[in-house]
Structure formats: structure tokens, C-alpha cells
Symmetry: C2
Subunit: 233 residues, 2 copies
């Protein structure tokens, strides 16, 4: 994953539809939907701010976290990638941890479709729908890049892991478990998550053969019944 | 994981039994079982070398890779942790990548028991035996620490991922698949690995609840039939 290739996403996706709708996690001090303008140090150039600025900073943050990891990522580097002052990044998001939280939230946005898959509860299609939602996120290079940024940081940094844990639980796993409505639903959902996260790790990160090159249809056929079994078996 | 706590393992395990028996991977230029003495810069103190030196360096390397990640880990840091000259580390192992390879090989040593679990092929105990072998490695703090070092580095660095991929395949997955003796055995074994690596990630790294605190017996009961199904279903 080269910085050039990843940064190439930026111009095409300044108004990416998943970002404005990103729900703020409960108790999170993050920015509101309408950040106050120019509270910090004034920006040098007027083109620094605008409707796409927040999104541009998030795109740069994901690239920075994906490629440098949480520890080495810096607000200065994120600002440079977005073509703005570091002060503007602080103004919009706050600390590095808060930028990371916002980046994780927006990275998770495509995964919010997963709990909808749980509408198939009680049917034999549940496993299949969840596996489909999972691969929709991971097979798309743009959303895969975001998920990798999050996963890499969470594996290597305790604070990043805490952010990942909270957002994954609140926005995805516990919501899905609530729909499932059995006493051990959270454990069942987490063992599904383990199967899928592990598959993502071997297919997209470690690139172990044959799973890395296996046709999607074959993986779907094998994973769906296992997911179904975890949830309702 | 503090450096202090991890380094605390070192004095107690200089002659750790898994290291001398570590098989060299085919085609690997790594050190032979009897490294030539004093080819590089001579060591300063005579207590630098000795029967436990190679093992002491490996223990320090695992700690260094676990805590700093592959990119930030240095031969100098590994040498410092082992109380030897950096030249001696180069003398025994070569480059940083070669030290990493040796550290991964020794970290995998306890996992070599897993293919033995495949002797239960054809019986309904196969899933249970594999899950037991997996948790034996991950529930022991010392071997867990080693596996975490490998996993963290592989997730964040392409060269470390290549070492991990090769050793995991050659020493564990492909050997297990060979025993299974069906055409799609490697894919089956890798989907088992995905379930188990994902479980390790959520339980020991991200520490997602409830899976992080779940009694082992409950996890065994849930995972064994899924593993069995992947392999023989």
C-alpha cells in the first residue's frame, strides 16, 4: 500500500457519503456535526477551510494511521496530507486520539449495514447475509484500506485498541447481539467476529495461500454455515 | 505489557527447551545448529558468550519485537536486552530480518504440537484436540507473549508478514493439511486458522468482552464443533 496510491483516493472522495452520517458514539466528546468555524489559530489560506475540509482531514488521517501505525502517526503528518495547518486538525478534532476515534468511526460506517443483516434472524439466510456484508466492506479497496488502518493501529497500541474495542462493541457487535435476543448473544456474535476478522487477517494482511486468492463465492459457501451455526446452533 | 514485566521472563528461561530443537525452514540461510564462534568483532567480556547466549538473544528479540514492533525494533536494542554486543547478535543471526525469522521459529515451536492433534483425523475428537493445542499456546503467558510479538510485527510490516506467512504455512498449516488428505485440505485448515487467530485477536489483543473473560471450557465447547465442521463437514 503506497502513500501515493492511498492519497489518490482523496480528491475523488471529499464528500464521501458515509462521513456526514457517522453517528457520534455515546459519551464521546468528538466534534458535533457542525464544527464551529475558526475557533483556533486562523488558517493561512482561505482554501484551507470549506465543506470538504473535515472529510479531507479524515481521509488523510486514515492513510497516516494505515501506513505509519498509531504510534508513529502525527497530527502534523495528517495535516500535511490534507493540505491544511496542524492547528486546523486540532480545531476540528482535538488530540491525536480524537482524530483516530473519528477516523475509526468513519471507517466503521460501511460496516453499519451488518446489523441490518440480522433482520434475517430465524431464517437460514442469516449466516449468508452477514458474510455478504463482511465481504462488501473488505473486498472494496477503499473501505478495506480504512479497516486495515484501524486493525493495524489496534493491534499495536493500547489506546488505539481501546477505541477500536468500544466502537466495534457499541456500533456493531452489541447492536447485532441485541437483535439476536438470546442470553449468550454477545459471545455468539463475537465468535462470528473472530471467524471473520481472522479471515480478513489471513486473506488481506498476511495473504496466506490459498485463502488469499480463493474465489469469493467459495469462501461465502464455506463461511456462511459456520456463521449460522455460531449464532443459532 | 511493560518491558519490565516481559524482560522478567528472560533470566528464568535462558535454556528454554524449545529453542535448540527449532527446525530450520527449508531454503532459509539462517544460522546452523552450531554457529561458528567469534567470526565477527570479538566480544568484550568472556561472559557474553556461553551455552545460553543464543537463547538469551532470542528471548530479548521476542521482547523487542513484541513491544516495539518490527519497524522500530533494532539489533542494538536486542543486544542491550540480552547484555551482549550488537556484533554478537549479527554474528549469531545476521540481519534484523534473520533475527526475526529465528524468533518466529522459536515462538512457533510450542505450536508444532498442533499437527499431532491431526492424528485424530476420522474421529469426532479432531476439533477438540486442535482447540486444546491452540489454547495451550495462547493461555500460557510466556508463549502468548511470543505469539503476540509475531502477530504484531506481521500485521504492520510487509517483510515480517512474509516471514510469518512462510513459517506458518510450512511448519503448521501445510503439515496439518497433508495429514488431512483431502483435495481442499489447505483451505479447510486455513479457515480453522482464521477462526482461531481471530479468537486470539479478540481475547488477548483487543480484549473484547465477553470473549476476553469467558471461561476456557465454554470457548472450547463452542469452538471445537466449528473447527470439526471446517475440516470434515
Amino acid at each position: 500500500m503506497s502513500r501515493g496510491a492511498a492519497a489518490g483516493d482523496a480528491p475523488g472522495t471529499p464528500g464521501t457519503p458515509d462521513t456526514p452520517g457517522t453517528p457520534a458514539a455515546p459519551g464521546e466528546p468528538g466534534p458535533g456535526p457542525e464544527p464551529a468555524r475558526r475557533r483556533g489559530r486562523p488558517a493561512r489560506g482561505s482554501e484551507q477551510e470549506g465543506p470538504g475540509t473535515r472529510e479531507r482531514i479524515l481521509v488523510s488521517a486514515r492513510t497516516e494511521f494505515a501506513e505509519r501505525g498509531y504510534d508513529k502517526a502525527s497530527v502534523r503528518g495528517i495535516a500535511r496530507g490534507a493540505g491544511v495547518d496542524a492547528a486546523l486538525v486540532h480545531h476540528y478534532f482535538g488530540t491525536k486520539e480524537q482524530v483516530f476515534t473519528a477516523a475509526v468511526e468513519s471507517a466503521f460506517a460501511p460496516a453499519y449495514a451488518v446489523p441490518h443483516a440480522f433482520e434475517a434472524v430465524g431464517s437460514e439466510e442469516l449466516g449468508e447475509r452477514i458474510v455478504d456484508a463482511f465481504f462488501q466492506v473488505w473486498e472494496d479497496p477503499r473501505t478495506r484500506h480504512q479497516m486495515l488502518a484501524v486493525l493495524r493501529s489496534a493491534v499495536n497500541n493500547e489506546r488505539a485498541a481501546a477505541v477500536f474495542r468500544r466502537l466495534l462493541a457499541e456500533n456493531l457487535l452489541y447492536r447485532a447481539a441485541a437483535v439476536l435476543d438470546v442470553p449468550d448473544a454477545r459471545l455468539r456474535v463475537e465468535l462470528v467476529a473472530a471467524q471473520l476478522v481472522g479471515t480478513a487477517l489471513l486473506r488481506y494482511v498476511i495473504r496466506m495461500e490459498p485463502v488469499a486468492s480463493e474465489p469469493l463465492e467459495e469462501l461465502r459457501t464455506r463461511l456462511a454455515p459456520v456463521v449460522q451455526r455460531h449464532l443459532t446452533g
